[in-house]
Amino acid sequence: MLATARTFTLDGISARPVRVEVDVHRGLPNFTIVGLPDAAVREARERVRAALVNCGFEFPLRRIVVNLAPASLRKAGPGMDLAIAAALLSASGQLEWEGLARVALAGELALDGSTRSIQGALAMAEAARESGAEAIVLPAENGAEAALAEGIEVVPVEALGQLPALVAEEWEPARPQSLPLQLDPPLGAPDLADLRGQPHLRHALEVAAAGGHSLLMVGPPGAGKSLAASRLPSILPPLAPVEALEVARIASACGRLGSGLSGGRPFRAPHHTISAAGLIGGGTPPRPGEATLAHRGILFLDELCEFRRDALEALRAPLEAGEVAISRAGGQRSLPCRFMLVAAANPCPCGRGETDPDCSCAPHHVQRYQGKLSGALADRIDVLAAVRQPSAAEIGGAPGESSAAVRDRVCQARERQERRLGPGRCNAEMTPAEARTCTLGSDAAALLADLYARQRLSGRAHDRALRLAQTIADLEGAERIGEEQMAQALQMRRRDRG
């Protein structure tokens, strides 16, 4: 007797359909799973056996073969337990479920037969819809996130024992409420008002947020670099619903949706000991890295110069392309990673800076340290902000402008950019050709041309200055880039060399 069921395996952040075929026939009692299962899938044998028995079903003492098709795809994770159990019940005649092949099932089983939450439920619900399934049966805990996928019926179950009632249509679970998509940062998120004084840093943050420009802050420890970075999400424009769904999909695939979405744009601050694979994703099967988790949000690299060089190098291409391409023997996956890069660094290893008489760093140490500031990754950074220790008067003074006020200006500037460039795009993404179409006042053009002619600017730096100036003009609501805005952009741009 044969039965088939549909389920999914998670591959990166997308779900790949898997067909579970269970064959039960006479022979020595045996239970085999074939079709490239990983250890967690193979252990489903024990979980399924115990769950069946503890839910009052009979575990057939016959020869059982479970085939996971396609056989060439490597299957991972415990999410196939439910489908294997359902197909086994059907094949052994304990559950007459003629619609089994038309629904998808995913979920991990506990030994008592109750279901446990899985990773990537949202992606699986969407994949079920794409593959034409009528419904997807999931653990109750994943119901809310799977309900974010529209156009497919989501059936949350709490235990394997509920399946007979479900099949007999004696019991109909309520359609779960979908998780609310939080577009705005949550209430009580850190506010920019905490940053006191530091007018230049505030301006740099605002410009970076308005144009989506990557930002590097350099200054002594304790000057407020990390504080400033953690306030950035609060001044960025709210997520578009489409973007929020992308963020939710990634969070779901990483099992981070259990307590719901944190709200607003992601803010990821990996520690500087992170490996290249941890940063951009990797492993077999590929798992998303911090760059993907920061999609549509901010990736904050504190102590940029302490990061491993290979990790920073690996970040270069994804920054440019907006996606990570991971090649494995089984094929190539791409993971989205459109994030805003924010980095902070000390001026030298001891942090005091060479002009401080107490700085005791050897010159070659400083050279090596700062080498990372001028490496390939730094080439992708637009804005440089030199941060200094705020004075006592500033620290004790009035709080700065609140996030809400800054965010209003940022949103208006983004609207202007979208009108000019198209929906969802910002100045930082302007191609060189688009940058040349910026409207410059004659003074501003003269200033830029003068600098370029004196070879103080490379071609790339020229375009970078144009993009920054355009953002400053957008913030001020100016129709064309004036001389003042161009001068500010030239000051704010990252320097190519010391």
Binding site: H200, L201, P347, A362, A487, Q491, G498
Partner: protein, 374 residues
């Protein structure tokens, strides 16, 4: 032009010094400072007796047996040449010193040594651990002195030395005096600078090609640097610095001393400030050096920045009084952040300021036209 020629005896002395490297290192250890120039006054026999009494005989015998063809071939292979104290190319200024090197091994254009008078060369020395202020000054001094026709002499070390060379190779003549063979780039990270100096300038040493540096070879090359130039300028140096060995040696030879004043709180300005207190010539820019060496007003460096309006003037004053980041300048000049930012960008464009890769601003040597009000 005088040809680079060296007699066999002087050449052998260079090879002997290289062979004695580790022995001299041992006896000079702990008091490296002035010991090695003193040691190098000794004749071959005495030097060997002092440094390596046990193997001295053998070493002298082996050295005396070195055939001229082999030495010439080694020089050729390393693309070097040699001149000795008996030849025409050997600079007269070196003959003043009692501890002058017997032979100079060079790589690059020998014309730079040809008829080089002390008043045509300036030695710039300073700390390896220099601040951006010192590096900027060293570079500007190197550039302006070289473009004024001076030969800039320095030691290719980290910090001030390299900056002086970098400024000078772009503008004119520079000589690097090395503590290793002239075909050895030391420190290794200055390889490209060394290569460039060999192309347009000159690297010299008293050690043969391939010789490795020892601690004692640096004070030893300092005596050559001190003797070559009419004036030795210290840009930045800590109170007990190798650069001050050079100034001591220069003073012994009756050469002029110059020092760039710095903040009294800065550790690396303690050396030059102490020299100034002792009567060294104040070096604020290349003009001061030219005035001291050639006489006031004999050669003028003409450069003045364009005029500034009052807002830019205020920002420039703020940077001159030590505020380096945009925020600090904005507070000091009483301007809103964006206005200060654009003023800094303009001043950078006009050449008054430079910005480091860390976003901190410092003043260039360009004098402003606005008269200083007291």
């Amino acid at each position: 032009m005088a040809e680079p020629t060296a007699c066999l005896e002087c050449l052998r002395r260079s090879w002997l010094l290289a062979a004695l490297g580790p022995y001299i290192e041992k006896i000079a250890a702990g008091e490296v400072g002035r010991r090695s120039p003193e040691l190098l006054r000794l004749s071959n026999e005495d030097l060997v007796e002092v440094a390596a009494p046990k193997v001295g005989e053998q070493m002298l015998a082996r050295n005396a047996a070195l055939p001229e063809e082999r030495l010439v071939e080694e020089l050729l292979l390393a693309e070097c040449w040699a001149c000795c104290r008996h030849g025409d190319l050997y600079p007269d200024s070196l003959r003043d010193a009692p501890d002058a090197p017997w032979a100079l091994i060079g790589r690059g254009s020998p014309q730079l040594l040809d008829g080089l008078e002390p008043f045509e060369a300036v030695t710039i020395v300073g700390a390896r651990r220099a601040t951006s202020y010192g590096r900027e000054i060293a570079r500007e001094l190197g550039r302006e002195l070289a473009s004024a026709g001076m030969t800039v002499v320095s030691g290719l070390a980290f910090g001030i030395d390299a900056c002086a060379h970098r400024g000078a190779v772009d503008a004119g003549r520079t000589i690097a005096v090395l503590g290793c063979g002239p075909d050895v780039a030391y420190p290794a990270s200055h390889r490209s600078l060394w290569r460039r100096i060999c192309e347009v300038g000159l690297a010299i040493s008293e050690l043969p090609p391939g010789a490795t540096p020892w601690r004692w070879t640096f004070p030893a090359r300092n005596r050559i640097m001190a003797a070559l130039a009419g004036m030795t300028v210290v840009v930045e140096a800590a109170a007990r610095s190798g650069s001050l060995i050079t100034t001591d040696l220069a003073a012994d030879l009756g050469r002029d001393l110059g020092a760039v004043p710095g903040p009294v709180t800065s550790r690396v300005s303690a050396g030059p400030n102490a020299l100034l207190a002792g009567g060294a010539c104040v070096v604020r820019d290349a003009q001061d050096v030219l005035d001291a060496m050639l006489g006031p007003g004999r050669q003028q460096i003409e450069h003045r920045g364009p005029e500034l309006d009052s807002a830019l003037e205020a920002v420039l004053t703020a940077v001159e009084s030590g505020h380096s980041s945009c925020d600090a300048v904005a507070t000091a000049a009483g301007l809103p952040g964006p206005a200060a930012a654009s003023a800094l960008a303009r001043l950078e464009l006009l050449g008054y300021l430079t910005c480091s890769s860390l976003g901190t601003y410092s003043r260039t040597l360009l004098p402003s036209t606005t008269p200083v009000s007291l």
